[in-house]
């Protein structure tokens, strides 16, 4: 069963220098209870996508396409309909917990706010739910924490506060944009295990954006890889990591620290850099950096559907592989 269907999504930012296409013709599905990991080039549009799903893009933005969620198209929402579902049916966890916490309000009041706004609990019930949630996430003294201000908490505590704030209303869709980048590995592990358990128990769906392939490999069921505003590959996590069909995915995996040779003269990375916003290469947009580029790639782009769950934007994936070249 599907929870979210994204169809032909286009996101553009207006700047002094003209339009910057941040997401270009992106389509994908998210199943009920599924964790979809999203990895990709820095600047490839992951955060823009997340903000679009939440209706939080800044005003200098143009969005086209369809985002189907619970029988409606989110992109048709007005401010009032966004207010109704944001924080109740869907919630977001940002990378920097300080950006979602108000510095002058007590942690407790902030965590229970969504429950109160949407009339899902009275203050006493809300407080109890918050206490239970923080305790489950491994906060040793949740009572004290509810009374504290954000600056009195460590980064790990703040991040858990933000997660509690997002999940207490039991949303059906949770979007997390690099939620644990600020955490050390031990805290990160605790938080991730808890989030995964919560998803499994609640049946909610999770879009999980991360640069850390190690984290994704422990967290996600499905993986989508983005490059220059497009999804270039999608499939089950195991499949994509074991047998990447797109040369970008392959390069990404090969450049991870654990895959590098410490004694090499240079570390492996993809040559060149992403063109600046606005100028999208012809044909396959990865072709200027592709180690396996052929003439056809410069003029033609093609989406290859390998099966329902597995697709790639590399047309050469069909002929056995570009890897032999």
């Amino acid at each position: 069963m599907k929870r979210l269907e994204v169809r032909g999504l286009q996101i553009g930012f207006q700047t002094d220098q003209g339009w910057i296409p941040a997401v270009r013709d992106l389509s994908f599905d998210l199943g009920v209870g599924e964790i979809l990991g999203i990895a990709g080039e820095s600047g490839s549009g992951k955060s823009a996508l997340a903000l679009a799903l939440m209706g939080l893009l800044p005003s200098n933005t143009q969005v086209r396409g369809k985002v189907l969620f619970q029988g409606g198209d989110l992109l048709q929402n007005n401010a009032e309909s966004w207010r109704k579902i944001r924080g109740s049916k869907m919630a977001m966890i940002f990378q920097d917990p300080m950006s979602s916490l108000h510095p002058y309000l007590r942690i407790g009041d902030q965590i229970i706010e969504p429950l109160l706004i949407h009339g899902l609990a009275n203050p006493k019930q809300a407080r109890e739910q918050a206490l239970a949630c923080l305790a489950e996430m491994g906060i040793s003294d949740p009572k004290t924490m509810l009374q504290q201000y954000p600056h009195e908490c460590s980064g790990g505590m703040r991040q858990r506060a933000v997660i509690a704030m997002a999940v207490l209303a039991k949303p059906d869709l949770l979007i997390a944009d690099e939620p644990t980048t600020a955490l050390d590995v031990t805290t990160q592990r605790e938080v991730l295990i808890w989030m995964q358990k919560w998803i499994r128990a609640s049946g909610a769906s999770l879009v999980f954006i991360s640069h850390d392939v190690g984290v994704l490999s422990e967290m996600a069921d499905q993986l989508m890889v983005m490059y220059l505003g497009q999804g270039v590959e999608r499939g089950s996590l195991v499949e994509v990591l074991k047998r990447p069909h797109h040369p970008y995915t392959d390069g990404l995996l090969r450049s991870l620290p654990a895959m590098q040779d410490r004694n090499a003269k240079h570390f492996y990375s993809l040559a060149g850099h992403v063109p600046p916003g606005g100028s999208i290469p012809s044909g396959c947009s990865f072709h200027p950096r592709c180690p396996a580029v052929q003439d056809l790639c410069r003029t033609t782009e093609q989406m290859l559907e390998i099966n329902q769950e597995r697709w790639t934007a590399c047309m050469r994936a069909k002929e056995g592989s570009w890897k032999s070249s």
């Binding site: 080039e41 640069h211 620290p257 993809l270 600046p276």
Partner: protein, 263 residues
């Protein structure tokens, strides 16, 4: 590509020596009696859980957070004892890349003009020089120089992080303290930055203190590492030694928690 002025090579010398450094916020000791040394041409990794005091230590070393006791010597000179004039002259040689690039970039200035400004002020570059070195510097960190006219909020997290690195490198520091410099980067961009930093250390003999919670990064590039726990450095040693035979129980726990993925 090489965006720096001359000065190849350089001596291998003791850049930094930190003795019994203690930083308190009120009664709370964020850094407790920390000792370490950093030489030119060397990468020292600093790892540890969040809140263990890594960033505070980095900031205190550069005089950005006052410390209560101990000493920090840069090229043999005790930073606390320098006159303001001498300190300001020495200061550009020590650069820091901050953990949160949004906070360290001016929201009202395009990122290109921010880099050009430090080049003009610190390196006394002419407008043309500043412009071409700014472009070169952005490309060096893997960004297209077309991003120069954008404001920080118009960039992705990873683009901002690389702008902050380009700005720190623009003044050709002898010592670079990089606080989680690749945390927002994809694998390829991370490898590119690590390669760039390692190149500056090998070829130009800068000293790099690399603060990160990513142990695989330290294992890949650092010569030595220190493990921080509750304000103290509880273990130091070569990267080989720490990974093969961690002596402290906390280090063992840290290494065991690293998410693993291998092809």
């Amino acid at each position: 590509m090489d965006c720096m002025y001359a000065r190849k090579g350089g001596k291998l010398e003791k850049l930094l020596s930190v003795e019994n450094l203690t930083v308190k916020f009120g009664k709370f000791q964020a850094v407790q009696e920390v000792n370490f040394e950093l030489h030119s041409g060397e990468i020292v990794g600093l790892v540890g859980e969040s809140g263990s005091g890594k960033s505070t230590l980095g900031r205190a070393v550069l005089g950005l957070t006052p410390f209560q006791s101990g000493s920090v010597k840069f090229l043999g000179q005790s930073l606390g004892k320098l006159s303001r004039k001498v300190f300001l002259k020495l200061r550009p040689a020590m650069q820091m890349v901050f953990q949160n690039p949004m906070g360290s970039l001016d929201p009202h200035q395009s990122v290109g003009s921010a880099i050009m400004e430090v080049l003009r002020v610190v390196k006394h570059a002419t407008d043309e020089e500043a412009f071409s070195r700014m472009k070169c510097g952005l490309e060096e960190v893997g960004l297209d120089s077309g991003l120069a006219h954008r404001y920080p909020h118009e960039l992705s997290g990873g683009q901002r992080q690389r702008v902050a690195i380009a700005r720190a490198l623009a003044v050709e520091p002898r010592l670079l303290i990089a606080d989680e410099p690749t945390s927002a980067l994809d694998g390829s961009a991370q490898a590119h930055i690590l390669d760039l930093l390692r190149g500056l250390v090998r070829n130009r003999r800068i000293g790099l203190l690399l603060i990160t919670h990513d142990l695989s990064v330290v294992k890949l590039v650092a010569d030595r590492a220190g493990v921080m726990h509750r304000g103290r450095i509880i273990e130091t040693g070569s990267v080989e030694k720490i990974w093969s035979a961690p002596s402290h129980a906390y280090t063992q726990r840290l290494l065991a928690a690293v998410p693993q993925w291998r092809r």
